[in-house]
Amino acid sequence: MEEVKLIGTWPSPFSYRVIWALKLKGIPYEYIEEDLSNKSPMLLQYNPLHKKIPVLVHGGKPICESAVILQYIEDVWPQNPLLPNDPHERAVARFWVQFAENKVPCIWRLFRTTGGEEQEKAKKESMEMLRALEEHGLRDKKFFGGDKIGIADIAFGQVAHWLEMIEDLVGVKLIEAHTFPHLHAWTKNFKQVPIIKENLPDYGEMLMYFKRARDNFLASRGPGM
């Protein structure tokens, strides 16, 4: 099998999407931690367009964008499939992956707010997004993938682990057991899956890292916002 490398960063949820997929399928790979404040020539060579992580390099060929990487991994290594067999169910799974791409970023907009109208708007968008997950995505299933995790669960990993950190830093609570019973249970169940449990950034370290990032961002934005 050709060599597989993953260029990522330890706090990034997008990096973890790829790690989870590779580990679930039992694909050996070399992990390379990137310093985004001092981007390596390798990253600039493999992802000249966006200069971002994650980048999967398979047999020397780079694949960029985590959603594209997930589909690539599924195409090349069909064992322990991340997508169901049935065409309609596959379409439903892909729909939710696209939803994750388009709608979940609102939690990061919330992350960057301090209060006022901006925060209210971001909070509202985030709640709407979570409501869609609760009522239409998850409904009464244990996982988005049914009895076991699939590509949509992986795509929503941010909501299971990183959102809690955002809630702590911003001082808002979005997911509660009585308002989002299924989603709340899902965040716990998802993190209990052995591959996920063994491959998550330490919460305390993550909190510290993102607090620093948020403080820097808010300081650079200046007062009065």
Binding site: L49, H58, H88, A91, F95, Q98
Partner: protein, 254 residues
């Protein structure tokens, strides 16, 4: 066609997202029933089939709904294996096509819409961004085609062709309304020849609304964004745009 195998597409004639799905269905030779939606008065069926976004296009097959144009295209490709493939077989080439399709959707389309919806300095800024993105796409196409001529006809349009087509098929109308030439053969030779090629494909030609109608659509989108308080104008124009439906009304402008 047996009820179970029936294919229905809920759409709106001016929507480029819907056009993507129609091109794919026609290329694959899949018979379907088209249902025009009034997006101001959305049907119960649409709300039932797409409760999350309440948008078109929605494909109904075997009584089940599939939403989001890219998801629908992948579904079509996997379900109807006869007819030209919409994605390459090779996983690495598939990844490249998916990457550039995502680029067209998230980075090009978004910024073109920004140009439509802004004016003055904000618009100038948005135009600059579009040109930067087009330059990146031109480079990307060189890599994608690897020096081979990418010949497009009704037999080999894939998802990237379809996405680009739905964005720049209307480039002449965009030029007229915005006063900006995005598809410039001198700046972007590969992209321009590609756009010309796919607008000549019979299936695309048949589905493309006439130039004058597209001009009205872009003018309406611009008006709506720049004068949101002009509600009366919006309603009148909105009614007018909706009345310019697909084929059963006379093709004349007042």
């Amino acid at each position: 066609m047996a009820e179970e195998n029936k294919v229905k597409l809920h759409g709106m004639w001016a929507s480029p997202y819907v056009q993507r799905v129609e091109i794919a269905l026609k290329i694959k030779g899949i018979p379907y029933e088209y249902v025009e939606e009034d997006l101001v008065n959305k049907s119960q069926l649409l709300l039932q089939y797409n409760p999350v976004h309440k948008k078109v296009p929605v494909l109904i097959h075997n009584g089940k709904s599939i939403c989001e144009s890219l998801v629908i295209l992948e579904y079509i490709d996997e379900t109807w294996k006869n007819g030209p493939p919409l994605l390459p077989q090779d996983p690495y080439k598939r990844a490249k096509v998916r990457f550039w399709t995502s680029f067209v959707e998230k980075e090009l389309l978004e910024n073109v819409l920004l140009v439509v919806r802004s004016e003055g300095e904000a618009q100038e800024k948005a135009i600059k961004v579009v040109f930067e993105k087009l330059k990146l796409l031109e480079e990307g196409l060189k890599d994608l085609f690897q020096g081979e001529t990418h010949h497009i006809d009704g037999e080999n349009m894939g998802i990237l062709d379809i996405f680009l087509c739905s964005l720049f098929g209307a480039h002449k109308a965009q030029e007229e309304v915005l006063g900006v030439k995005f598809i410039d053969p001198e700046k972007f030779p590969l992209l321009s020849s590609w756009v010309t090629a796919f607008t000549e494909v019979a299936v695309v030609k048949a589905l493309q609304p006439p130039h004058e109608k597209l001009v009205v659509v872009y003018q309406f989108l611009r008006q709506k964004a720049l004068q949101p308080s002009a509600a009366e104008v919006e309603v009148k124009e909105g009614v007018y745009v909706r009345s310019l439906s697909r084929s059963h009304l006379p093709d004349t402008l007042i």
